[in-house]
Every structure is written in C-alpha cells, then in structure tokens.
Symmetry: C2
Subunit: 157 residues, 2 copies
DNA sequence: CCTGGAAAGATGACGTGTCATGTACCTGCC
DNA sequence: GGCAGGTACATGACACGTCATCTTTCCAGG
C-alpha cells in the first residue's frame, strides 16, 4: 500500500504499443468489414458461431459463453440483428424461460459473402505481418493474461 | 482472387486468443477504473496527455494525433468531459479556427487520484502475468502490425 | 487582393456497450 | 406442494464511437 509500482520504460512502451494495436487494428478491421459487407465485427462473430453450430441454432446463453460477452450486450445485439433480418428467435420447448437463436437465409448469405474478404483483411493486416514464432508468442501471452483474468484468485501469483 | 487463404489452426488460435484478450482485458480494466474513480479508459488517456503537456494545455488536433483517435470522437468526448467539469476549452489566438483544451482543477484531481490504482491494476492483470521477454515480443509485434496499418502501401509486403 | 482548396473543429443521427433492474421459469429442500 | 434462490432473457437509460456534413478560418497561387 505504501509505494506505487509505476511502469518502467520497457513496460510503458509495451503497454502503450499494445493499447495502440488494439485501438487501431480493431477500428480498421471494423471499417473495412462494414464497408465491404455492411456487417460489424460483432455481427460477424455472432454469425460465425451460429454457422458453426450443429443445428444452426443456439441458446443465447451458449452464444454468450462462446463469445465471452455480457448477457445484456448479447440480448441487445440479437435484437438489432433480428430487426435487420440476420437472425430469428424461436421459443424453446425444453426450457420455457429460454429461446433459440437461428440464422435466417439473409444471415447465412451475409456471412457467406463477408467471410472471404474479412479473412483476407485479417491476413493482410495482421497474420502476414508476423512470423509463426510471433504468432505463437502472442497466443501464449494472451492465454497467460486470460488465465489470470478469469481466475479471481490468480492476481497475486 | 481465385482461392481464399483461410487461416490454418495455428493462425486461427492465435487470432482468436488475441481477440479474446482484447475484449476481456479492455472490459475488465474499464470496469475497475470506472468503479474506483468514475473515469473511463478514454477519460484517463485524455487526462494523462493533458497532464504531460508542457503548459497543461493542448490543441485538440495535437491531442488527436497523440491518442490516434478520430477527430469527431475526440470532439464528442471533450464535450462530455467538459460537461462533467474535467476539462475546459479556451479560444486560440494564433489560429482562430482552433481551440485549446486544458485541465480543470477537478480534472487534475481526478487523474491524480485515479492513477495509482489504475497502474496497479494494469500491473496485476497484465504486466505481472508476463515475462520481460514476452513484453518485448509483444511490443515488437505490435509495432510491426501498426507499421503496416499506417502505411497504405505496406499491405503487400 | 481574392479565390479555391485544405485544415480545425463542432454537431446530429445512429449503432453499440454497460449497468441496473424486471419478469418468467426452474429446481432443490423443507 | 410450496417456497427460496438461482437461471434465462429482456429492457430502459445512458455513455461511447463513427459517419456524414457543416462552419469558420487559413493559406497559396492567380
């Protein structure tokens, strides 16, 4: 509690570089995806998960755990996507509180059309800028931080 | 244009890990900063830049270049911060189109009170989870991607 | 001078994310 | 069987970010 452990120069530079990467890359990917397909990154993620789902449908809470989104964010977002005709909700017989979310034809078409360009953009802006070692390093480092984030007791290691 | 270069498994894992890192870490930092100080990460960044500025004041366009924000985002955000009493605007005599943004006393106090906790959180959740080598690797990798992002001709390297 | 283009900044509309809260339903335990 | 607490999901209010567009001022080339 006494003194503050400020960041030293190396830490500062790494942290700021990360922040800038996050900000600029996310913004750029969003812009391009939006321009080329009318979808946001959030839309894209939802549609991908639905496409990958066994029956082409998922319970919102499953979607939520896959995406690591807050519940209300998902609910609002699904509402907007429904309004745009990308997804549709259905009642759930096994659990009357619940619901199913499923792709509409328009949704399937949108993701099918958007995916190639988007993957190409991710590759050009990100993957191809890095070596395989850098990608491995990034994955490892991300997993470490995420582990700490998800373990409430782990901050003190 | 012929075939799509989809991501292989390693690339996929790295990319998804990065996306999750970005999402979860950002959300958590925002939550904690907001709870402990009433500031958002965006507020924090603006206040830090103003604190570091020579005269405690900056032209919006300078702030914009430091933060790498869109112009209208900055303008809107400064408006909200002004409404909350964190910053103040002043006319600029050298350029009548322009303006100065400066810290108010409340703004200075807010950042002074918020900084220690926030730095400690960044350290616990992020810096301390990584080795110095990982931090260096992250910085290097971020810089590479950013270079490509900022060079419109660089995507084809 | 003066005019056309570029720069500085503000603004309205709209999609997005969060928090707090509300409602319906399920489930375990007395 | 009924009730206590938890789960699934929706919603309203509000902060945030982007796009398109507008206004004012600067400046460079005639």
């Amino acid at each position: 509690m006494s003194d503050i452990r400020w960041l030293d120069d190396d830490e500062q530079r790494a942290w700021r570089a990360y922040l800038r990467l996050q900000g600029s890359l996310g913004a750029e990917l969003n812009r391009r995806l939006q321009a080329s397909s009318g979808l946001s990154l959030a839309d894209y993620d939802v549609l991908v998960r639905l496409t990958d789902a066994p029956d082409g449908r998922l319970r919102p809470y499953e979607l939520q755990r896959e995406l690591h989104w807050e519940q209300s964010r998902l609910s609002h977002h699904l509402g907007r996507m429904q309004k745009r005709g990308l997804v549709r909700r259905e009642e759930c017989d096994e659990d009357r509180r619940g619901a199913y979310v499923l792709l509409t034809e328009a949704g399937r078409e949108a993701i099918t059309q958007a995916a190639p360009d988007h993957v190409e953009t991710v590759r050009r802006l990100f993957i191809d800028a890095l070596s395989p070692e850098q990608l491995r390093a990034l994955e490892g480092l991300a997993v470490q931080v995420l582990a700490r984030l998800e373990d409430p007791a782990g901050e003190r290691a």
